[in-house]
Amino acid sequence: MLSLLSERIQGIFKKLRSKGRLTPEDVDGALKDIRVALLEADVNFRVVKDLVNRIRERAVGQEILESLTPAQQVVKIVHEELTRLMGGGERGINWAPQPPTVVMMVGLQGSGKTTTAAKLAALWKKQGKRPLLVAADVYRPAAVKQLQVLGEQIGVPVFSWESQDPVEICRRSLEQNLPFPPNPVIIDTAGRLHIDVPLMEELKAIKEEIQPQEILLVVDAMTGQDAVEVAQRFHADLGLTGVVLTKMDGDARGGAALSVLAVTGCPIKFMGTGEKIGNIEIFHPDRLASRILGMGDVLTLIEKAQEHVELEKAKEWHKKIQQRDFTLEDFLEQLKQMKKMGPLEELLHLLPGLGPIKELKGVEVDPKEVVRMEAIIQSMTPEERRNPAIINSSRKKRIAAGSGTRIQDVNRLLRQFEETKKLLQVLTEGKGKKKKMKELPFPWI
């Protein structure tokens, strides 16, 4: 453990030195393997071809990081590129200015629409909203019943209507006069083939009728080459606003996501990660990029090397601390770094010229804790993140509900943030022997 850490620390202090530039041969060699990896991950043939060409253009001539081989450097570029591609677009929900926000779930048979509809309802309910589920699948046997059972489980009302016409069902669901108007309204439509003209027309009619803010295409992570065909047709007919990737808890590499993205340009908004109602996550582009590339070992290596690069980030933070500009977002970023690096105390011990620092004794970050903190910070408004002083008790309540935590958790986080900020100021302003740390390029304290 210690030797690994010291290796890392040395890595961090090593200067970013260039080992030359990528030649066309370097790039072509590496891209062969990458092409294989992408095809095995089910990224569409044409998408792979285009991506590979694009990356070739970008990569030739780039500098190679000190600790990487040219091939690894190319993998790094590809990984960045995939992350960037998948991370684009507005990934939040387009909430209607006038409630209710209407969200329509569409997709092929068996892709996971019904389960996802219920998961989203549960998620939004937890955030203090009042969702309504609408059972508009009149075709599959017991589809309505399935949604009703799920609705019951999560305590969300389900609208159904004795009608064979989904358009009518959807219209009526919005016409109800309820004491507490529902928001959002989530429509579960029947699974259908993208080439089934009458059924695609039906979806268009529903869209016309209810004017949804969101039309989410539910895509099975296991989908193969046909994903482009499917996504293209749904997008052309309906104008999708986002994608949900399901069944990500299996061992599918999920390359279909890239294909879907390539043909629709729609952001991936959520990920289904299990059969339980709580198994829905916000989409993480970097994780999926790693998964699609599948080159675990190489990526770990690259990540290590990447730590050099984070020197730049550290300097930025240093400046922020001195200008007392250190925000909750920076704090979160640091926590994540710490999770990666291991216990802080051990780490600092390895630094030359530094004795034990009493303030940091026992400071260690539990990965689960980081996830919780992340949720809390993400539930804050940008204003709150910049200026936590405005977080009063009603705001705390909202933040706790939004992140599925308790008020105590929010309080603790705010306290920890204040303490960290104070500590950082002491350290950077420098008193006594701690003066040595003035230039401390450390992101993770």
């Binding site: 294989v36 095809l39 095995e40 991950a41 089910d42 569409n44 043939f45 044409r46 998408v47 285009d50 694009r54 591609l85 092929l108 048979q109 068996g110 892709s111 996971g112 075709y139 599959r140 046997p141 017991a142 589809a143 019943k145 399935q146 949604l147 009703q148 059972v149 799920l150 489980q153 083939l193 993208h194 080439i195 089934d196 003209v197 099975d220 992570a221 296991m222 989908t223 193969g224 080459q225 046909d226 994903a227 482009v228 065909e229 499917v230 293209q232 069944k247 808890d249 299996g250 061992d251 599918a252 590499r253 390359g255 279909a256 993205l261 390539a262 043909v263 340009g265 059969e275």
Partner: protein, 317 residues
């Protein structure tokens, strides 16, 4: 134009282009050149055959070309179709019947692949042949799964055995088998909950169902059918491998071939795991289940058949 627009443009006509492209290549090309073989390779990959099996097929073709067994593009295409059909076993793979009834058939697969629907269609098919069929609702997990299956049992006129939601699936299967034995019914069809092949405890549950059936009757289950969605890509290999390891799958039902997906991954599965495809699903109607004809499938792999064009069936029967 940005990346997406460019790509979209390029992809727009992929399908149409590609089969026309192949036809054109075969029709107009006198010689097998790189453009032609690349076209074939692309066809196989776009059909989800997967890289290793595609490369294997292309190597076989290469050898033929070098040995002058194959000279023209038309011959090359015919050769590949023949190779694919031979990997898939050429002939129809019939159901394995118990020496004395009842024959027990267990349907397994990942979530949403089409197990319940295929079971319903199969019940109908067998009932039409005059068999007495009982259906066991051993998916006690998914919401309303039992009700869904009950509708199918009614549609096909099969007997129906159910327990409460959440009950032990093995117990449901056991009851159905016992009922069939005591009443002299011919076939027991067991629906199971969808599960991802990597979930160890759920795979254990499946093994238990199988054990209970085997203990109650010699040789049962006589068929373990893995229901595979034709839209699935290379993950189908992992599904086939892990389900086979857990419950000795005897055959595949390839569903949703009425879409645009080709289901080519079954070629890779046949090559690596020697699992035959027994049936294909071609729609949501009760009659949309057909035996699998390897030659027709191989033919369809290289052709673009669309329902709009009036060509719905991939198999001629």
């Amino acid at each position: 134009m940005n990346f997406f627009q460019r790509l979209k443009e390029g992809l727009r006509k992929t399908r149409e282009e590609f089969s026309r492209h192949l036809e054109a290549l075969v029709g107009f090309k006198r010689e097998i050149d790189e453009e032609f073989t690349e076209g074939l390779e692309e066809a196989l990959i776009l059909a989800d055959v997967g890289l290793p099996t595609t490369q294997y097929l292309m190597e076989q073709l290469g050898q033929q070309i070098r040995a002058r067994g194959v000279r023209t593009p038309a011959e090359a295409l015919a050769y590949l179709k023949e190779e694919v059909a031979s990997l898939l076993g050429r002939e129809v793979s019939p159901l394995n019947w118990a020496p004395s009834p009842p024959t027990v058939i267990l349907m397994v697969g990942v979530n949403g692949s089409g197990k319940t629907t295929s079971l319903g269609k199969l019940a109908f098919l067998l009932a039409r042949e005059g068999k007495k069929v009982v259906v066991a609702a051993a998916d006690t997990f998914r919401a309303a799964a039992i009700d869904q299956l009950e509708v199918w049992a009614q549609r096909s006129g099969a007997a129906f055995i159910r327990h409460q939601p959440g009950a032990d699936p093995a117990a449901v299967a056991f009851d159905a088998l016992q009922a069939a034995k005591s009443r002299g019914w011919d076939v027991v069809l067991v629906d199971t909950a969808g599960r991802l092949q990597t979930k160890v405890n759920l795979m254990e549950e499946l093994k238990k169902i199988k054990r209970v059936l085997a203990k109650e009757q010699e040789g049962a289950p006589h068929e373990v059918l893995l229901v595979l969605d034709a839209t699935t890509g290379q993950n189908a290999l992992s599904q086939a491998r892990l389900f086979k390891e857990a419950v000795e799958v005897t055959g595949i039902v390839l569903t949703k071939l009425d879409g645009t997906a080709k289901g080519g991954v079954v070629v890779a599965i046949a090559r690596e795991l020697e699992l035959p495809v027994k049936f294909i699903g071609l729609g949501e109607g009760i009659e949309d289940l057909q035996p699998f004809y390897p030659r027709d499938f191989a033919e369809a792999l290289f052709t673009d058949i669309r329902p709009e064009g009036g060509e719905k069936q991939i198999c001629s029967s």
